[in-house]
């Protein structure tokens, strides 16, 4: 295989890594700051994707669809937080696992009810449907570059918010020492609400922009959830930097695994996680 093959696969892996990063960064914040295990996080990826699919179908434009889907997704996320998850903040992990497991059952079934069981897809918007010729037959789709670019912008924005703003300071404080934040008189409920909504927004947005490249299918939220959990565990719970590094490791290795060792593709990802955890039981990075 030529060098160009490996370079393009690397590009594919990085692009997948960026999407994973969006999902995993929300997950790691919710774990790290709220100490809540939220298995329904993947469902928000699915909800985002299906909302975008639905609204794009109505308005005929993906960007307009996404624009309208974001507030809807956040609203759903906030409702879930207020109506269900808020009740188990203090109840321990077992109850959180069960509650969010039940939420997955409900969301998955709602998806089947509303959009049926077959896979769906959305066309790449015309504006970005082109591709860049690399070799005589090898091309790289513009839309995938667009995804990566958007993710980079969001990543930088997140870095700025967390490092430079007052909210970011609170988030950082919450991730490293929960009790201190409360002692300082910060409204922890509001902080939780904001963090949870932020996580939902990131996951749902990842689902939305991924719609034209990934297909929509029942149970899609579960797949992304498990792989994001792996990313979070590798990176270290509560660490945005860890989520980024973890997402890149998993993104790139799963793409190469798929094409070079297809029989073992999924096992490789988990074996890698085990190896990293034997080396570092608490993941690669400290919180934030």
């Amino acid at each position: 295989m030529e060098l160009s093959f490996y370079l393009i696969q690397l590009l594919n892996g990085i692009q997948f890594g960026f999407l994973l990063f969006l999902v995993a960064s929300g997950l790691t914040l919710v774990f790290g700051i709220m100490d809540v295990i939220n298995l329904a996080h993947g469902s928000f990826y699915m909800i985002g994707a299906y909302l975008a699919y639905w609204l794009t179908g109505i308005f005929g434009n993906l960007f307009l669809g996404i624009l309208l889907a974001i507030p809807l997704a956040i609203a759903i996320g906030m409702a879930v937080e207020k109506l269900a998850i808020a009740y188990v903040y203090k109840k321990g992990h077992l109850h959180q696992v069960l509650l969010t497991y039940a939420l997955i059952l409900i969301f998955d079934e709602m998806q089947r009810f509303l959009w049926g069981n077959d896979s769906h897809s959305v066309d790449v918007p015309n504006l970005l449907s082109g591709s860049i010729p690399l070799t005589d037959i090898q091309v790289y789709p513009v839309y995938r570059l667009f995804i990566s670019a958007v993710c980079i912008i969001i990543g930088i924005g997140m870095f700025y918010v967390i490092q430079k703003t007052k909210l970011g300071m609170r988030i950082r404080a919450g991730a490293s020492n929960n009790e201190m934040v409360q002692a300082l008189g910060i409204n922890i409920e509001r902080l939780f609400s904001i963090v949870f909504s932020l996580g939902v927004a990131l996951a749902a947005f990842a689902g939305m922009i991924a719609v034209p490249v990934d297909s929509l299918y029942p149970g899609m939220g579960d797949n992304i959830l498990i792989i994001s959990l792996v990313v979070v565990v590798i990176g270290g719970i509560g660490s945005i930097k860890g989520a980024f590094v973890g997402a890149m490791i998993i993104g790139v290795s799963s793409i190469f695994g798929k094409t070079l060792l297809p029989d073992m593709a999924s096992v490789i990802v988990y074996a890698m996680m085990a190896a990293i955890l034997i080396w570092r039981p608490k993941g690669l990075f400290q919180a934030i």
Binding site: M1, E2, S4, F5, I8, Q9, N12, G13, R112, G116, N117, D118, S119, H120, S121, D123, V124, S129, S131, T135, I137, Q138, V139, P141, R144, V213, D214, S215, Y217, P218, G219, N223, I255, K258, T259, P262, D263, A265, S266
Partner: protein, 400 residues
């Protein structure tokens, strides 16, 4: 789900109506009994998916089967028919319980199902050697009429071997020597790939890349990168349903359409018109095309549309033929479901006038049928030839 599926009686409703009906006939004292058959009604257990990835398939199969039996005056061998319907979902681990419910609790005479291959093998294992007659209206796992074959297990659909084996020869004939494979990494996909290799490699073909992709994901970028790097003469695939649409569109978007010919089996079935121009020119091998012009097919398409509002597809005709098979068998024994041996013999020797063309059954109770070569033109699966005439599944491992 189509509107037809929504009107389906639930299992509980069925049991209720059935018992009321029985009570009524009992009172009026006209309960004809048969040797072992017992009650007046023939019990047909149906284990098909009405939710899950295969919901549409189950709905079409059941609708077409009922259509066929309705054409026969709603009777099998002169007896009224009672359907007991269970939703199999796509959940293999529940199939044992579901099957038990039908064969032990309900004691059905016929068991129709399933769509899913894994469930099919489990059911076949459970009914083997029992009195109930199982008819598989879709599930294509080779083993069902292979290792698990039995006199009381029939299939009216296809085997993964039967649909893919002819493609190897057809692709060689078309001059494709170096081929890349892409298929869902689950049992049916793997069997399809294996059957393809069985004819393609001995014929002088070379597999340059063998790429199973995770089920049911539809993200192919990294695989296409590999295809572009290898530049094969053609690509052979197994995908179906919504993912097949996505596959064809992505394939075209990657710039391969017209440069690297695309082949498959179920790829364009029910999906060609939805993929738009991306499906143009794709070649597939299958045991049916809705474009076949025989009289049975023309009539069936019209009747099915009238009954359900949906277009006929390969799954519907399999359900239709399941109905035909039961009718022929039950007519031969005049409705005596107790005469199991005579009944299964009659079913095995029946000739089915199917929308796919006439077909008969092999020793393993699997259709001996033509496999058509189809090409998408204007969004339709036009038949461009017969890839294999009267092809019989080898039924590997069948000892019955």
């Amino acid at each position: 789900m189509s509107k037809f599926g929504k009107n389906e009686m639930t299992r509980r409703d069925f049991v209720k109506t059935a018992s009321t009906a029985l009570a009524v006939t009992a009172v009026s004292g006209i309960v004809p009994t048969f040797a072992i058959g017992g009650t007046a009604k023939v019990k047909v257990g149906v284990l098909l998916p009405f939710t899950g990835t295969y919901a549409m398939l189950g709905t079409h199969i059941l609708a077409a089967m009922k259509l066929r039996i309705a054409q026969n005056g709603d009777k099998l061998g002169g007896r009224e028919v009672e359907f007991i319907v269970i939703d199999s979902e796509a959940d293999v681990s529940k199939s044992t319980q579901h099957t038990n419910k039908l064969i032990k609790k309900e004691a059905v005479d016929f068991l129709v199902g399933p769509v899913h291959s894994g469930i099919g093998m489990n059911m076949a294992r459970m009914v083997k050697g029992k009195k109930v007659i199982m008819i598989v209206p879709n599930a294509g796992a080779n083993q069902i009429t292979g290792e698990f074959c039995a006199p009381n297990i029939f299939r009216t659909s296809f085997s993964s071997w039967q649909t893919a084996y002819p493609a190897g020869d057809a692709m060689l004939k078309a001059g494709h020597k170096k081929v890349a494979l892409m298929y869902f990494n689950y049992a049916f996909g793997k069997q399809t790939a294996a059957a393809f290799k069985e004819s393609f490699i001995p014929g002088g073909g070379e597999i340059v890349a063998d790429m199973p992709t995770p089920f049911p994901k539809g993200e192919f970028q990294s695989y296409f990168t590999k295809v572009a790097a290898l530049k094969p003469d053609a690509v052979f695939t197994f995908y179906s349903g919504g993912v097949a649409i996505k596959f064809m569109k992505d394939y075209a978007a990657a710039g391969f359409q017209g440069k690297i010919p695309l082949w498959g089996t179920f790829l364009t079935e029910g999906t060609s018109h939805k993929a738009g121009s991306a499906s143009e020119g794709i070649l597939t091998t299958l045991h049916y095309s809705s474009e076949l012009e025989n009289a049975t097919n023309v009539k069936f398409k019209k009747d099915f549309k009238g009954a359900t509002g949906d277009e006929a597809d390969v799954f519907a005709i399999q359900g239709f033929d399941t109905g035909s098979l039961m009718i022929q068998g039950m007519d031969a024994v005049k409705g005596d479901t107790g005469a199991t041996e005579a009944l299964t013999k009659a079913m095995n020797s029946s000739k089915i006038d199917s929308p796919r063309g006439m077909f008969s059954f092999s020793k393993a109770n699997h259709p001996i049928q033509d496999i058509y070569l189809r090409e998408v033109k204007g969004g339709l699966n036009k038949v461009v030839g017969v890839a294999a005439k009267a092809l019989e599944d080898p039924a590997i491992g069948c000892k019955a």
